[in-house]
């Protein structure tokens, strides 16, 4: 009796939280996740970012400039350090190219390199390609809700080509931003965690400006991604994301 009451309460509050008309809980969650994954992109976006990677062997900081359009197009160029200035990555749909200014060549990333880390960080090329499709590949269930956050469990759809056994999103309510994402393998061992903080208003939204990727099986390593000068709603077209633009400094 009491349990049913609580359940109804949760469902109601979920309804109330969202501005849109009543839909099934699942669909709401899907949009929620999609919004979260899109938080840095909008329809179009432009940002300056700083990435700090700490591994057992190096501790480096890169300053980069990035543009995106929908979920299909992405261009990021390295500004600092000078040694890597001009190195750039272009993503169009599911293909990736790298530009190397030192040799002035564009290299298409073959399947065998997709597992490799992107720019030496804890993010892989594959993450760049696939991360934006989380809402399509998983089903969602609300695990827990408090005043502060939603805890949403994402289980892969049958036959979705994803390596995770489970992903859990912790999404804040006010403002509605992601706080933590936990990635589990198929045996439900937590393998990776992404933590978000430094929440700021940008344009008409509120976004966490800092994202930290933690490989849990290597406790001393991390990749920290911080956005500066983030702006949304630019006038960007698909043809901006071209191999020619890739090579421009």
């Amino acid at each position: 009796m009491k349990f049913t009451a609580v359940l109804i309460l949760i469902l109601c509050s979920l309804w109330a939280a969202l501005p849109s008309p009543a839909r099934t809980a699942d669909l709401d969650l899907q949009t929620l996740i999609k919004d979260v994954e899109q938080q840095y992109r909008g329809r179009s976006s432009h940002a300056e970012t700083v990435m700090r990677v700490k591994t057992a062997h190096w501790d480096r900081t890169l300053e980069m400039e990035a543009w995106s359009l929908d979920r299909a197009y992405y261009l990021i160029q390295i500004l600092e350090p000078p040694k890597e200035r001009g190195v750039a990555t272009l993503k169009r749909d599911r293909q990736i190219w790298n530009y190397l200014p030192k040799v002035d060549r564009v290299i298409k990333v073959p399947p065998s390199m997709m597992g490799g880390s992107w720019m030496g960080s804890h993010i892989t090329n594959d993450d760049l390609v696939k991360a934006s499709h989380v809402d399509e590949d998983y089903t969602f269930a609300l695990l827990e809700e408090t005043d502060v956050f939603y805890l949403i469990e994402c289980l892969p759809r049958e036959n979705a080509a994803v390596v995770w056994g489970k992903i859990i999103y912790k999404i804040g309510k006010q403002p509605r931003v992601p706080l933590e994402i936990d990635y589990f393998d198929e045996s439900m061992v937590r393998v990776r965690q992404i933590v978000f903080d430094k929440v700021q208003p940008v344009g008409d939204r509120v976004v966490p400006l800092r994202m930290t990727v933690l490989p849990l099986e290597k406790p001393n390593e991390r990749t920290v991604f911080e956005y500066r000068n983030l702006e949304f709603g630019l006038d960007l077209e698909a043809n901006f994301f071209s191999l020619r633009r890739l090579k421009q400094r």
Binding site: D93, P111, V129, W164, E217
Partner: protein
């Protein structure tokens, strides 16, 4: 007839000498035959397991595929597999896709070559799959099941039943990914296989690469290896009306194995030549001795009116008889030895602990002989021929005897 009886009697006049010579020659024949038949048997098995996991006795490829292994060089099945399958002597045809890609688990990724097969057929033929228990086999051509090598599975840090994702280049230019699960694990003992084998149903593989209904390789497995001479022309005929594809024999498709065997046979031949040379010299020696011994007697025969030619002929007949006897005895012994090696064989497990590899295929630990009758007959012919050759010098010597001198000989 008389000549034969005379030769026979002469042979047995010095029983000890004849017996020793006989045993020397017969023994050598036995060794040579048994050793060859053993290698023959071992190679037959190696080729058999090699072609079943590899190209088949006869293989069909797109032109240029063998040299470049370019994954875009596929060909449509059409009615070819069925047509070949109905040819007499063909046990099975195995269509295969070979797709290079990336395998990823939640922790690791590895570059791989994915093999798309027709599960039932492959299960019947492929020795790597034969050892798999039924429940570990691919369930269908489109299932998301994968059979992978043990070491590969361990490197990906996953276990049986767990999932992983394979990404590959699709013909539409983009990268496609498919979810697969470890259904069966192969533990062959061959490093290359256990490190890299990954097999799925062909339809599932085709979804990855966009090559549905097509294949890189059509492996033709014959009922017995020696049928390839008959079947190859028939296959070539069927392939002729499709200029983009070509049929090759396993020796062309798997040159490493073919050459490893050829090389071993070549060095064997060398050794056998030496053995036969030594034996021949022994025979020359013996025959010469027997001629020298009977100098006086020959002198008498010549003096009594026999011709040198006749004398030479007699000696040759003697030698031929000796050779034939030795050959028969040797072959009998050789057959016995071969039979033992065929039925029981030599078990290497007592000597060597690890799995031995040869030309890319694993050695079975028990070496068994097979009957290479052709070769055995050839050896018999050679030996008899050699004996006759060995008799030439003594015969000539005998023919040149001056009767008077000879009779005075002691």
């Amino acid at each position: 007839m008389d000549a034969l009886r005379l030769a026979w009697k002469n042979l047995w006049r010095n029983r000890r000498r004849t017996l020793i010579t006989l045993s020397a020659v017969a023994f050598s024949i036995m060794l040579v035959q048994a050793f060859h038949n053993l290698s023959f048997g071992v190679y037959e098995r190696m080729v058999d397991s090699g072609v079943r996991a590899g190209s088949g006795h006869i293989a069909v490829y797109r032109e240029g595929y063998l040299d470049s292994r370019d994954e875009t060089l596929v060909f449509k099945a059409g009615s070819l597999p069925e047509n070949i399958r109905t040819l007499p002597g063909v046990a099975e045809v195995l269509p295969r896709l070979y797709i290079p890609g990336l395998a990823q688990s939640s922790r690791e990724s590895r570059g791989i070559l994915l093999i798309g097969v027709d599960p039932e057929r492959e299960r019947r033929i492929n020795p790597f799959l034969a050892a798999l228990p039924d429940e570990q086999m691919l369930r269908s051509s489109s299932a998301r099941d994968a059979v992978i090598g043990r070491r590969l599975m361990e490197e990906l840090q996953i276990g049986p039943g767990q999932k992983f994702v394979v990404t590959a280049q699709h013909t539409d230019g983009t990268l496609h990914a498919e979810l697969l699960r470890v259904r069966g694990v192969v533990d062959s003992g061959i490093k290359d296989v256990d490190n890299s084998l990954i097999m799925v149903g062909r339809q599932r593989a085709a979804l990855l690469s966009g090559q549905a209904g097509e294949m890189h390789e059509l492996a033709v497995i014959l009922e017995t290896a020696n049928l390839d001479q008959k079947v190859f022309p028939a296959v070539a005929q069927l392939v002729m009306d499709r200029p983009e594809i070509t049929a090759v024999s396993w020796e062309t498709a798997m040159p490493n194995l073919a050459n490893a065997i050829k090389l071993d046979y070549a060095s064997q031949k060398f050794i056998f030549l030496i053995i036969l040379a030594i034996v021949t010299i022994g025979v020359v020696n013996t025959l010469l001795m027997s001629v020298m011994e009977r100098m006086r007697e020959f002198g008498v025969i010549l003096a009594l009116g026999s011709t040198p030619a006749r004398l030479r002929a007699n000696i040759l007949v003697e030698a031929g008889l000796l050779g034939l006897l030795a050959a028969l005895l040797g072959t009998l012994l050789g057959c016995l030895a071969t039979w033992y090696l065929w039925a029981v064989g030599i078990n290497l497990e007592t000597f060597v602990s690890e799995n031995l590899e040869f030309g890319g295929v694993v050695f079975e630990p028990v070496l068994r002989a097979a009957w290479d009758i052709d070769w055995m007959v050839k050896i018999v012919v050679y030996v008899v021929g050699l004996t006759l050759v060995a008799a030439l010098y003594p015969a000539v010597k005998a023919g040149r005897i001056a009767p008077v001198e000879a009779m005075r000989h002691h």
